[in-house]
């Protein structure tokens, strides 16, 4: 066997290689999903809990809905759409938490178990590997979260319709929960968050590629220490506000809340304001720098 394959002329071997064109990026991402099943198991679990909670909450729903429809339209809307928004919010937060834990382990785990020596024995470059890992919080998790949110909301919509059908109030949910608009909103919100949080994920990847151990502590303690020192020395909380802005400020730049719009109206979206926020672009530049540094470190670092 080996004699045959090794005497294949170079050109034939080359065409054979082209035939079996390797797809390192695709397989690197699949590899991440194999290793970190929590990426899809955790959101599915949360979705299951949300749906279960909603099913419980629909006990006695026809009775309550009768009084809800007597409220002014704005309050009606708030009461009916609230569970849907809550479900979406819980899944968005879940994705963020999974992304954080994933990034902190992504480049340290392979050094800890020495499997990096195996990964590096294959023709997959460091940029490909690090970008595949970065694509989990930046692409895979938001996409998955979007699909799960839409499916969860559809389930809630159909279930409440079924529960309310006998009492003839099913239409009230459909009037106040516009699934298509809601899906667009969720989509927009996920994109805003992922762009806004990109430097956080990238920084955590960098910490994970640099720290020999306890990447969690390296991620948490320095910010806490800076905030504490600032408070003690200057008695100010600028650093805390900065962190808060980086965590949730993107939403404030991308949505307008105080205007008297209907709650799910697309007119609340302010994409131009979001895109013209310096914080967004500074964050994205930092994310690119952090990821480049993580690529360099992965090349230089040895197993721990």
């Amino acid at each position: 066997m080996s004699e045959q394959s090794s005497v294949v002329p170079e050109s034939a071997a080359a065409s054979l290689a082209a035939l079996q064109a390797p797809r390192p990026m695709y397989w690197s991402v699949r590899r991440e999903l194999w290793e970190n099943r929590s990426i899809y198991v955790a959101p599915l679990l949360v979705a299951a809990v949300v749906m279960f909670g909603f099913v419980i909450s629909t006990i006695g729903m026809p009775h309550r809905r009768r009084s809800t429809v007597l409220l002014p339209p704005a309050q009606q809307h708030a009461a009916i759409a609230m569970p849907f928004d809550m479900a979406a919010a819980m899944l968005v937060v879940t994705a963020f938490v999974i992304g954080i834990f994933y990034c902190l382990d992504a480049l340290q785990g392979e050094r800890r178990d020495r499997s990096i020596l195996f990964w590096k024995s294959l023709p997959v470059s460091d940029p490909t590997t690090v970008l595949a890992k970065a694509s989990i919080p930046l692409v895979a998790l938001p996409a998955l979260t979007f699909v799960i949110i839409v499916l969860t909301q559809w389930f809630m919509l159909l279930w409440s319709t079924a529960v309310l059908l006998p009492s003839g109030l099913a239409g009230s949910t459909w009037t106040h929960f516009h699934w298509f608009t809601q899906s667009l909103l969720v989509f927009y919100c996920l994109i805003v968050l992922v762009l806004w949080h990109a430097p956080i994920y990238a920084l955590l990847l960098l910490i994970s590629s640099w720290a020999r151990r306890a990447s969690y502590l390296w991620a948490v303690l320095p910010p806490l220490a800076i905030a504490a020192v600032e408070k003690i020395v200057f008695n100010t909380t600028y650093f805390g506000s900065f962190l808060k802005y980086r965590l949730i400020g993107g939403i404030g730049e991308a949505f307008i809340f105080k205007a008297p719009h209907s709650t799910d109206s697309l007119s609340r979206l302010t994409p131009l304001n979001f895109l013209s926020t310096p914080g967004l672009w500074i964050g994205l530049i930092l994310a690119a720098i952090f990821i480049t540094a993580a690529v360099r470190l992965r090349r230089d670092q040895e197993p721990v």
Partner: protein
């Protein structure tokens, strides 16, 4: 063609010199054994060759710079660092899928055929396999890659005798075909003596000895000397002398076989004995 060429290869960790300006040339089709004590720089040298560590000096592996072109180089190079590096969470089927997906020169059918001869199940996770089975799996992966250079760093460490024997048998019978090049480091020198074509001793970051195995066999001779001939034997200037069961065994470099036959039983020394002679020679004791 030259598989590996290094000139002035140097690597330091802080003030520790791991490699001290090594010159190295490995031709295609050779099986080179790098032997040295712990901390001699063997693994550092291999890591430099594999693009896993930066270095000073010139180094070309299969015509490429390993540090800047590791991913391209790895199309033609396979390596087994040691048995513990396969990702423990992965399933056997997944690792086959993954390597087929990223490696243009991986022949999955060949790996599958090799695995059929073992008791490894496709659905097993690697953490469920015994150490010997993990080595078999790694060997199955590596042998299915049509690589030009295979690097083995202590590949049989921690394996029992049966698996160690099987490892080198498979390597020689199913893999090596005289166009491939193999570089291996190990402490189990006796089990690779018949496998190697070239030998290199490395100590404290320097090459202490380098020769082909033909050269080794013609150059080094060991004589078991009867007590009455010991003085005569010592006069011939042995490289090393040791006592086994009250008899002196003297190791000679470039000695006349006829002359030695007269004073005792002559044989080719083991690599381990030469290693002790070259490395363990206390200055002034024998020479």
């Amino acid at each position: 063609m030259t598989a590996i060429e290094a000139r002035g290869l140097r690597k330091t960790f802080g003030s520790t010199i791991a490699l001290d300006s090594i010159d190295l040339r490995v031709e295609e089709g050779r099986i080179l054994g790098i032997i040295g004590p712990n901390g001699a720089g063997k693994t550092t040298a291999l890591n430099a060759i594999l693009g896993l560590t930066s270095y000073q000096g010139e180094l070309t592996v299969l015509g490429r710079n390993p540090w800047t072109e590791r991913d391209l180089l790895m199309r033609d190079v396979s390596f087994i660092a040691d048995v513990a590096v396969l990702p423990r969470w992965m399933r056997v089927s997944q690792i086959l899928d993954y390597v087929s997906g990223v490696h243009p020169r991986f022949r999955r059918a060949k790996a599958e055929a090799f695995l059929t001869k073992t008791t490894i199940k496709r659905s097993s996770k690697i953490r469920e396999l015994s150490k010997g089975m993990v080595t078999q799996l790694h060997l199955a992966l590596v042998m299915a890659i049509d690589a030009k250079l295979l690097v083995l760093d202590e590949p049989t460490l921690g394996l029992d005798l049966l698996y160690r024997k099987q490892f080198y048998d498979s390597l020689l019978n199913d893999y090596f075909d005289r166009t491939r090049t193999i570089v291996v480091t190990t402490h189990q020198v006796e089990e690779i003596q018949d496998v190697l074509t070239d030998l290199m001793f490395i100590d404290r970051g320097r090459i202490a000895l380098t020769c082909s195995m033909e050269e080794f066999e013609s150059r080094y001779l060991e004589v078991i000397v009867l007590p009455e001939h010991v003085a005569a034997a010592r006069a011939l200037g042995p490289l090393h002398e040791r006592q086994v069961f009250g008899r002196s065994i003297l190791l000679f470099d470039h000695a006349d076989r006829q002359q030695l036959t007269a004073i005792g039983d002559v044989r080719t020394p083991g690599i381990a004995d030469l290693f002790v002679a070259v490395m363990g020679n206390q200055p002034g004791e024998i020479r």
